[in-house]
Amino acid sequence: MILTWIYWAITAFMIILVLRSLYREKSLREQIVAAMVLVPLLLRVLMIK
């Protein structure tokens, strides 16, 4: 259970970092890549998949 919460915290932290990169990014292509990375992270932070 502790491991699950550590995993959740890492995932949430990753989402924050990806969002930060996405908004700071100057290239649209890199923004699209960041958005694609967000999808599985969102599913994981919500404990869906």
Partner: protein
Amino acid sequence: MFEKRYLASKLTGTLLVAFAIVLAAISGHSYMKMRNPDPGIDRVVPAEGFEHRLLSDWFPALKGTPGDADIYVQEGEEPGGTMLLLGGTHANEPAGFMAAVVMLETAQVKRGRLIIAPFANPMARTHTFPQDAHPQTFGFETTNGTKRTFRFGARITDPVNEWPNPDIYIHPASGQTMAGIERSNLNRAHPGRADGGPTERLAFGYMELIKQEKVDMAIDMHEAAPEYPVVDALVAHENAMELAAMVSMELEFEGVPIRLEPSPKNLRGLNHREWGDNADVLALLMETCNASHGRFRGKTDEALVLTGEDKAYEKSLGLGRLFVPLESYDKRIDERVARHVITAKVLADNLEYVRDGKGITIEGLPSYQDLSEQGLGAFLSE
């Protein structure tokens, strides 16, 4: 053109985040459908005489957990032996659990006792395996036109229930090492551990059931890829080999040839090994041939699950690369289920010859020909 810096802005960022949220919502909804299926999906209608119980009745630690499997028990008027029948140990092997469902909905036990676990690992039914592109459900039309729909799950317990798996799984009872993912595979977890992971606890529950109910014969119904050598096969622990040999001969006479395989002594964690080693039970496992399970397959959809028709497998068969005889290559789910049902029936019929006074008589089951020709829908309740 995407490299042009002016294209990226806070607005495009916000739009893309919104798009990612929408995608996550759509796929999340799809995943959750497997965990919380619509009413009617996986519905079973037990034949008269079955009593519904839960595996926690034999191993109370499972109570209230996702691994607390449904168990159905029917006792005949005459005393006799006890037969345990498992389907859905691997939830991506549909003929295994559909055979259990057909038997649950049609069996009338006259002598002895029949215990059925149609969905032996409920935790494997809530997801499909990543990158396998399996359909989430498949269905059959009954004689009055209603549709019976069942989930197509995965080989292993849902990571939501059991996570993370180690790099290497050490089978607790033997010390044998396996790939880490096998920790979540019910048919590598036997005889299980009372204080192990969810799949090991589930395996322990079945072991307790076998011991407490003094089960005489335990059968697990599986499917395997057509390129796998153990298809259309009956795998038997050495204590069940005499019975299995009799049954394979009888099936040959019935026109249902079946390969007879000994349970390897050095391959641990499988039920046909561990049940037989740890209890006074004749342990057997059956395999049919499932193209939707194989690695050569092309388009993977409901039709493939139901018909087994795949051009890569047709070609492999023509080249003699499969372990199924060309003349008996009929891999519709109706035939695969019929094969399981007739094998279970013949095993029950012959049990008395190896266990005096422990005969089991089951009536009402559809014959191999009827099931194969009329299809499953004709024998499922409405």
